[in-house]
């Protein structure tokens, strides 16, 4: 839903809400999926991002987002220096994801201590973003909520347990989606919540034997 402050904002570092602010938010969301500043990031840009990104500071904004800078942080101008100081290396490539892909799409491959996550998302206008793929699973994340994404072995009671832990920690759920690769295989759970998901809740969920990995994505709007 469009809020008044999507119209009277966002407050942002220019020059483009889609190519700069949205690009930064995509970087932030990808970083949140990894849970750390990446040691190395490979970012592929598609369509308009690839064609006009440089003049809009798109690459700089993405790198800034990957080290945790917000779209209104003046340090975005020096994002490369900030990232270098944080010990991150990165590479950009152009990619053609086909005519169906949103023109402002980026694909991330982020590494930290042997772990690799992949994130695909698009800047859909006015600084708003949508993450559409996470580690190969289709998702739909906007960053408008506190989000929990977890990969679990598909067995009875997993949803009940996760929602139970969250409600016991005072977290009200806004949306929930479950996708599985097959019966009794892996299931990806995406939960968007009104309240922040605490460390305690996250640890409690991660402690379950059937949870392969769980990631908290802070609200980025």
């Amino acid at each position: 839903m469009v809020s008044l402050f999507d119209i009277l904002g966002p407050v942002m570092i220019g020059p483009s809400s889609s190519h700069t602010a949205g690009a930064c938010r995509l970087g932030r969301m990808a970083r949140a999926v990894l849970g750390h500043t990446p040691e190395h990031a490979r970012i592929e840009l598609h369509g308009s991002f690839a064609a006009t990104g440089e003049g809009h500071g798109t690459q700089r904004a993405i790198v800034g987002g990957l080290v945790g800078l917000a779209p209104d942080d003046p340090r975005l101008r020096d994002a490369y220096a900030e990232a270098a100081a944080a010990g991150m290396t990165w590479e950009f490539a152009e990619v053609d994801l086909g005519a169906e892909a949103h023109p402002n799409t980026a694909r991330f491959e982020l590494r930290h201590e042997g772990e690799v996550v992949t994130v695909r998302g698009a800047s859909v206008g006015g600084g708003r973003v949508e993450v559409t793929e996470l580690n190969g699973f289709p998702v739909s994340l906007t960053g408008d909520y506190h989000t929990l994404v977890l990969l679990a072995h598909d067995e009875p009671g997993t949803i009940h347990t996760v929602t139970g832990v969250l409600s016991a920690n005072g977290v009200n759920l806004a949306t929930m989606r479950v996708d599985r690769t097959g019966r009794h295989q892996d299931a990806l759970m995406t939960i968007e919540a009104d309240e922040p998901i605490s460390d305690a809740a996250l640890d409690e969920i991660r402690a379950r034997p059937w949870v392969k990995w769980a990631r908290r994505i802070e609200r980025t709007s």
């Binding site: 839903m1 008044l4 119209i7 602010a21 440089e54 809009h56 206008g125």
Partner: protein
């Protein structure tokens, strides 16, 4: 957010609330934020708008491409020649914000970064002319936001979807509504100002040189600010327009949908495709990112 100007005006009449309060109440209901929080956040956006204008007028910001920077200051230093200081100041303020935007400065994308110069230029100039305090400016921003919300739902605010009419045109319509309200206009006059403003922006294409939010954007923000003032003056004087604001907004949406893709922020047509533009972009290639590991 309201989905028509008509319902916005009707809600104000039915509830006895002012137009700004109707917009704030709708936001309150949807977001769960209190009216005080909403007004506070708008005060913050006004502060960022002011700072951007000051920074731009200093004339020291320059975009990486070199296409913009220093124009707002040059205008202020060399004008006014024709209609007095207020007009020149308003134009310079619109350009100043867009120059700060192009230089990766902090701005308020109201409603978009490419049209960020229009609303602050009109609001601050009218506030000076009418001696309005900050709270009245917050009211003006709420009216502008209500109108922008209607346009976002019925048409579009994005140049890539609807051309420049959707960006600077929408910003101007929002600004026209705001200052018509601030000058004491009725709900009907606010609606008329939106119609009068947007009808004059219909068909404006988005054809930025080099695909950058710079030229003609800085100049279109300036002229859109004038369009807004013209519409508000006419509406306040009681001039009418036979097509309703909502209908004009719908037409803007339709024109945008039927606009060739070359004129929708792709830099493939219009001014961007001229020989002069191509020469400029060749001479001033944008910098490749430095420090990248590959």
């Amino acid at each position: 957010m309201h989905s028509s100007i008509e319902s916005l005006i009707r809600d104000a009449e039915a509830s006895g609330l002012t137009l700004p309060r109707v917009v704030a109440a709708a936001e309150e209901a949807e977001s769960g934020r209190s009216e005080a929080e909403i007004r506070n956040r708008i005060r913050n956006t006004l502060r960022v708008m002011r700072e951007a204008i000051v920074e731009g007028l200093e004339g020291k910001v320059h975009s990486p491409s070199g296409l913009t920077g220093g124009r707002a200051r040059r205008l202020q230093e060399n004008g006014p020649r024709l209609l007095g200081g207020r007009v020149t100041e308003t134009l310079a303020r619109a350009i100043a914000t867009l120059e700060v935007n192009a230089a990766m400065g902090l701005i308020v994308a109201a409603p978009t970064a490419g049209a960020a110069g229009v609303l602050p230029a009109i609001l601050f100039s009218v506030a000076e002319a009418l001696d309005l305090d900050e709270e009245r400016l917050v009211d003006g921003m709420l009216v502008a936001g209500g109108v922008g919300g209607v346009i976002a739902q019925r048409a579009s605010l994005a140049g890539a979807q609807g051309g420049c009419q959707a960006e600077t045109g929408s910003a101007a319509a929002m600004g026209a509504a705001a200052v018509t309200w601030l000058a004491g206009g009725s709900g009907e006059q606010v609606a008329t100002s939106v119609a009068l403003c947007l009808q004059g922006m219909l068909g404006l294409i988005c054809d930025p040189i080099g695909g950058l939010v710079e030229v003609p954007c800085i100049y279109r923000n300036a002229s859109a600010a004038m369009q807004a003032i013209a519409a508000a003056e006419m509406a306040l004087a009681g001039l009418d327009f036979p097509v309703t604001a909502d209908e004009v907004i719908d037409v803007m949406g339709e024109v945008g949908r039927r606009m060739p893709v070359a004129y929708r922020e792709t830099a493939q047509g219009g001014l961007a495709a001229t020989e002069s533009a191509r020469r400029l972009v060749q001479i001033r290639p944008t910098k490749r990112p430095r420090g990248a590991s590959a």
